[in-house]
């Protein structure tokens, strides 16, 4: 019986190692360890053994059983692993093949920059105002201290609907609407379309976009204007961005300034991009003219404020190095798909 047990162990070892698939292995397990299996058959002979022999033989039989079980379970693992590996190998794909991309669209580059500016100002506590594009002369000019026949009207070639109604030439028109309807403290920006009678070329369009800003409160200073614009430009162009203010004239601000931003290309040294200036003109700004405040019913001896207006196209074109403004209005999908 001892020999039988030894022999079964040896045969089993050979048989298990020869098995190549799980099914055959299971059959082998049944054959060896099953109720009608070989080991069971041998154990059935236990009864014929003497009482002295029985414990030793029992122990041996259990050892053999346990070894057979381990053998089979190890082999099962090995075969499972091999099968898994084979499957993984068979499932090899070419990862350089094109992706299945879900179709998503793209925001227009102008919208991207506008959204960014909105967020910057929302973060600074500004709300967003809207105003009509077809506008009364009053809001676009007169209430901004540009009476009829004011020479400064010449700088803005205006589209007229009637003598009294026009396409707004500047988002500054929204200033007046805001002051008429809100009491200080006021902190708003107003992005939108403006119109000037300029023929289309690489740097002009009869329709373009501005973002107007207006702040009115007690104790607002020109230094606040400077600080706010610096913050805006640093958020837009990075912390090392520098601006400079040049005195200028707008009838609705006093003092007035044109604001230049340090050339991104040469950092102030002067290059072709900035026409050797080191700076690029970006926006107009100033302290709200007391006449404008009073005309809108705000006491200029109590309140002061600042306003600014920046051209979006210019910022967009600089940011993405777009040299021709027409691209923004042509809407070629090959152009649009480049922005995100």
């Amino acid at each position: 019986m001892k020999e039988q047990l030894k022999s079964i162990e040896e045969r089993a070892r050979e048989a298990v190692s020869a098995v190549t698939d799980l099914k055959a292995l299971d059959e082998l397990r049944v054959k060896l360890l099953g109720k009608k299996g070989e080991l069971t058959a041998i154990l059935k002979q236990m009864g014929k053994l003497s009482a002295e022999e029985r414990p030793a033989m029992g122990q041996l039989a259990n050892q053999v059983r346990s070894q057979l079980e381990t053998m089979i379970s190890d082999k099962t693992k090995a075969l499972q692993e091999a099968a898994q590996n084979a499957r993984l190998a068979a499932e090899t794909i070419d990862i350089t093949m094109p992706a299945k991309k879900p179709e998503t669209g793209h925001l227009h580059p102008l919208k991207i920059v506008e959204n960014e500016i909105r967020e910057i100002f929302l973060g600074m506590g500004f709300s967003i105002a809207d105003g009509p594009e077809v506008e009364y002369d009053y809001y676009n000019f007169e209430a901004l201290n540009l009476p009829p026949d004011h020479p400064a009207r010449d700088t803005q070639d205006t589209f007229y609907i009637t003598d009294n109604i026009l396409l707004r030439t500047q988002t500054s028109s929204v200033q007046v609407h805001v002051m008429e309807t809100q009491k200080p403290p006021i902190r708003v920006i107003s992005p939108g379309r403006v119109y000037r009678s300029d023929a289309v070329d690489a740097t002009h369009s009869p329709l373009f976009h501005q973002v107007e800003g207006l702040v009115i409160d007690k104790g607002i200073t020109m230094a606040d204007l400077k600080g706010t614009l610096e913050l805006l430009m640093q958020r837009l162009y990075g912390d090392d961005c520098k601006i400079r203010l040049r005195p200028h004239h707008f009838p609705f601000t006093e003092p007035s300034a044109e604001v230049d931003v340090m050339c991104f290309n040469c950092h102030g040294a002067g290059c072709r991009m900035c026409k050797n200036e080191g700076y690029i003109e970006l926006l107009g700004a100033g302290m709200v003219h007391p006449w404008v405040l009073e005309n809108s019913g705000i006491d200029s001896s109590v309140y002061s404020g600042f306003a600014f207006g920046l051209g979006l196209e210019r910022i967009v074109m600089r940011r993405y190095q777009i040299s021709d403004m027409r691209l923004l209005f042509e809407n070629d999908v090959r152009f649009l798909e480049q922005f995100r």
Binding site: E103, T104, G105, H106, L107, H108, K111, F121, L122, M124, G125, F126, S127, I128, P132, E133, V134, Y136, H150, P151, A152, D154, F159, I161, T162, N164, I165, L167, P185, R187, R193, Y195, L207, D217, T221, M222, A223, D224, K226, G227, L231, R244, L245, R246, P247, H248, P251, E254, P255, S256, E258, M287, P290, L328, N331, D332, V333, R334, L336, E337
Partner: protein
């Protein structure tokens, strides 16, 4: 305004480079656009002295010259100029110099001319960028033989005195005083903190009483408050001296003759336009400043006959207009070769009057540009004296010692409160009061008893904020501190703004690219989209002065804008364009009132798998994201834009009674008109209406506790019955326990009778309070079948 730096030097002494000057002036408020060093233009041009001249051995029309160029050896130059001779000084373009004649440029090289070496080129006026007005003695057709003090080898620029620097300023409309050399000198003096020296002009004239010859009558004393006139006898018309010509040229003004040049010179120097009349053409010796009569005519100096109206101010003699006040003189009133006696005018015309007249007549002149901004009412006698002084200095005639000054002006200097504390508080700065006073006084603004007194030439100064600006700009805007605004502000997007943002985000997420189209369009666009003749949408807000027909009306529908862009992309052979725009339409209301400007979402598609249902899916995704439910699609009826669409592949979209918009496949005719060679799809959704039906209050619904019951059903019905009707019937029949109906198949073909279709639905039902039983589901399905049978839909066997 172009400024001659040499001229500026008469008034302020500066020791800075042109670049430093330009930069500092810009930062103190006089913006420099550009500057040009004249001598740069003449680099490479050198004075040569002709040592000998002989006829070319191989060509009779050419000459070979030996020229002293200041070097050790003379240089040989071949020329065709007959007017040069031994001993002459001529400008020579040396080897390597680029020479421009007319539109052609060439670089001078050592060359053989008919076998004889030539190392340079003699130049005429044109080659040097000059005209005979600059050097009247020169022969304009040939080589410029110099009569200037010069020596061989000298730069032509210095020999001719063209070594000035011309600085181009952009002067804003509030500072007409800076449209003058003295005005800019004053700014320079304040900017660089150096003294300004302006002498009062004086002249010695004859004892003659001007009023015996000339009378001045101002009829319209409101529009002309001051008129000064002077008389010069026996003028000698000649070229002005070189220094004057150079300064005029550097200022961008063409020299003409001494008398005309003097008027221009004084205008540039003081900013006050001057006019000179030939006394012969001032009939009756009478100058009258009056309104023109309607229909009165004048032929102006530029030779154009102009009809005047009674709103226009003119200078007239006893018979007729001789000048349009402040704008331009009449044809025969100017200075001519045989002019003997000249009347000088220096006057103040009211700005709005000049501006209106100049606009109406379509004439902008240097004079009108100054008058319309407002001049210094005290400067007329000074500038007249300056003109007469120059006449005397130039020997251009004999000034009469007496002058006329008809003065109805009453300029009261503006007194403005001066409060250094307020200025510092307003600027957010800490500038010492003494510095402020220094800045202001350098600009000739007097500070006395807490008041600023604005000089007469600064009509722009009226309020404390104006004084703050003067202080700030001389102190330097960039020296101001930068601070953060304090105080509380509540910033948030309005519900409408958030709504629009959601729409845009959704449009992008479903695959559309954002576009940007013009708000104006062509009236022809209405025809292109088949808008009915009587459609109210054809009534558009019209621009009276458009750039062209294509951009002449404000759009009442965005559909043409979208089609334009689809067509553009198609023309670029882009295989696919899925686009959207959130933008405005402009709908007129009443005459003289503003149009409404509602926002619309426009989606436009062609290519890839675009079809009606993709478009519908995009629109519905937008609705879902916006919290809009219960939307119906019906065959277009109401919208005038329906003719732009395929009649059987388009829909009007409603939420209840609210019209939300129109969508569908574009009509083949319209596609053809736009040149789009594929099917294209457009949806236009009205954002305010969409907002009005949106519900953005989200309340959590408990997750279902009990299982759902699903029953599939296949029906056969007439092909004309819309799926929507079947769904409505099912929904009503099932009632409350209906969770969802899913269409999973529509079939027409062999298995189905002609004119019929098979439609299959999954009906998902669930009870909120208990597990739905099979009996409950069966009973619901019985109701469904009954309802469907009524519609003529039966179970497919």
């Amino acid at each position: 305004m172009n400024l001659s730096m040499r001229w500026l030097g008469d008034y302020v002494k500066l020791d800075v480079t042109p670049k430093e000057f330009c930069s500092a002036m810009t930062m103190s408020g006089s913006k420099v656009e550009a500057f040009e060093e004249e001598k740069k233009r003449l680099e490479g041009f050198v004075v040569g002295k002709i040592l000998s001249k002989r006829v070319h051995e191989n060509a009779d029309a050419l000459f070979v010259c030996s020229v002293d160029m200041g070097g050790e050896e003379p240089v040989q130059i071949v020329t065709n100029a007959k007017n040069v001779k031994e001993g002459d000084f001529v400008p020579v373009a040396t080897i390597g110099t680029t020479v421009t004649e007319g539109n052609q440029s060439m670089k001078i090289k050592a060359a053989k001319v008919r076998g004889v070496e030539s190392r340079g080129m003699f130049c005429g006026l044109e080659t040097l960028g000059l005209t005979q007005n600059d050097f009247p003695y020169a022969d304009p057709e040939s080589v410029f033989v110099l009569q200037e003090e010069c020596k061989a080898g000298q730069d032509v620029a210095s020999a001719l005195g063209v070594d000035d620097v011309s600085v181009e300023f952009e002067i804003t409309s509030n500072r007409p005083d800076c449209l003058s050399v003295i005005g800019l000198a004053r700014e320079a003096s304040a900017t660089f903190n150096v003294p300004l020296t302006v002498n009062k002009p004086e002249f010695t004239g004859s004892d003659e009483d001007i009023t015996k010859t000339l009378t001045v009558e101002i009829q319209n004393k409101e529009k002309c408050t001051r008129y000064c006139a002077g008389l010069v006898r026996n003028v000698k018309i000649a070229p002005s001296p070189r220094w004057m010509r150079e300064r005029l040229r550097a200022s961008g003004v063409r020299p003409i003759n001494n008398l005309v040049d003097i008027t221009n010179y004084v205008m540039l120097e003081y900013g006050q336009p001057m006019h000179a009349f030939d006394l012969r053409f001032v009939k009756g010796g009478k100058i009258c400043i009056r309104n023109a009569q309607n229909g009165e005519k004048i032929t102006t100096l530029d030779g154009i006959e102009r009809e005047l109206t009674d709103k226009m101010l003119i200078i007239a003699d006893s018979e007729k207009p001789i000048a349009v006040a402040g704008i331009m003189g009449g044809e025969y009133s100017g200075i001519m070769e045989d002019t003997v006696d000249v009347v000088f005018e220096s006057a103040y015309f009211e700005p709005v009057q000049v501006r209106q007249t100049s606009k109406k007549l379509g004439m902008r002149t240097d004079a009108s540009a100054r008058y319309e901004k407002g001049l210094d009412e005290t400067s007329m006698p000074v500038t007249l004296a300056r003109a007469l002084q120059l006449v005397q200095e130039l020997g251009a005639g004999e000034p009469v010692g007496t002058t006329i000054d008809e003065n109805y002006s009453n300029p009261i200097p503006n007194h403005i409160p001066f409060d250094s504390k307020w200025i510092n508080a307003f600027l957010g700065a800490d500038i010492p009061e003494s510095d402020m006073v220094k800045y202001l006084e350098s600009l000739e603004i007097k500070v006395e008893n807490d008041e600023c007194i604005a000089p007469s030439f600064r009509i722009d100064l009226a309020r404390p904020a104006d004084i703050a600006e003067e202080v700030a700009r001389i102190y330097g805007y960039n020296n101001l501190p930068s601070t953060v605004i304090t105080g509380v502000a509540k910033a948030q997007l309005t519900p409408e703004q958030k709504f629009t943002r959601t729409i845009e985000e959704t449009a992008v997420s479903v695959g559309c690219d954002g576009i940007l189209t013009y708000s104006f369009t062509s009236p022809k666009a209405f025809d292109k989209i088949n808008l009915p003749e009587n459609s109210p949408l054809r009534n558009a807000t019209t621009i009276t002065n458009p750039l062209g027909e294509d951009t002449s009306v404000m759009r009442t529908t965005t559909i043409p804008s979208m089609l334009d862009i689809l067509a553009f992309n198609y023309s670029k052979r882009n295989p696919k364009a899925w686009l959207y725009e959130v933008s405005k339409e402009y709908h007129p209301t009443e005459p003289d009132k503003l149009p409404t400007e509602p926002q619309v979402l426009t989606i436009g598609l062609y290519g890839s798998d675009a079809d009606f249902f993709l478009l519908k899916g995009m629109v519905e995704t937008v609705f879902d994201k916006c919290g809009v439910s219960g939307v119906n699609y019906i065959r277009p009826e109401k919208s005038d834009e329906k003719n732009a669409f395929h009649p059987n592949r388009s829909a009007e979209v409603y939420a209840g009674e609210t019209y939300l918009g129109i969508m569908g496949e574009i009509h083949p005719d319209v596609l053809k008109t736009y040149g789009i060679g594929v099917r294209a799809y457009v949806a236009k959704i009205q954002i305010p209406e969409l907002f009005s039906v949106a519900n953005n209050e989200i309340t959590y619904k408990p997750l279902p506790k009990f299982p759902a019951m699903t029953r599939d059903i296949s029906l056969v019905c007439d092909e004309t019955i819309p799926v929507g009707e079947l769904e409505t019937a099912i929904s009503q029949a099932v009632g409350k326990s209906l969770e969802k109906i899913e269409l999973f198949d529509v079939y027409q073909g062999e298995q189905i009778a002609k004119g019929k279709k098979s439609v299959s639905f999954s009906i998902i039902m669930r009870n909120a309070e208990e597990t739905m039983t099979a009996e409950q589901a069966d009973s619901a399905m019985k109701r469904v079948l009954k309802a469907l049978t009524k519609l003529g839909a039966n179970i497919r066997e």
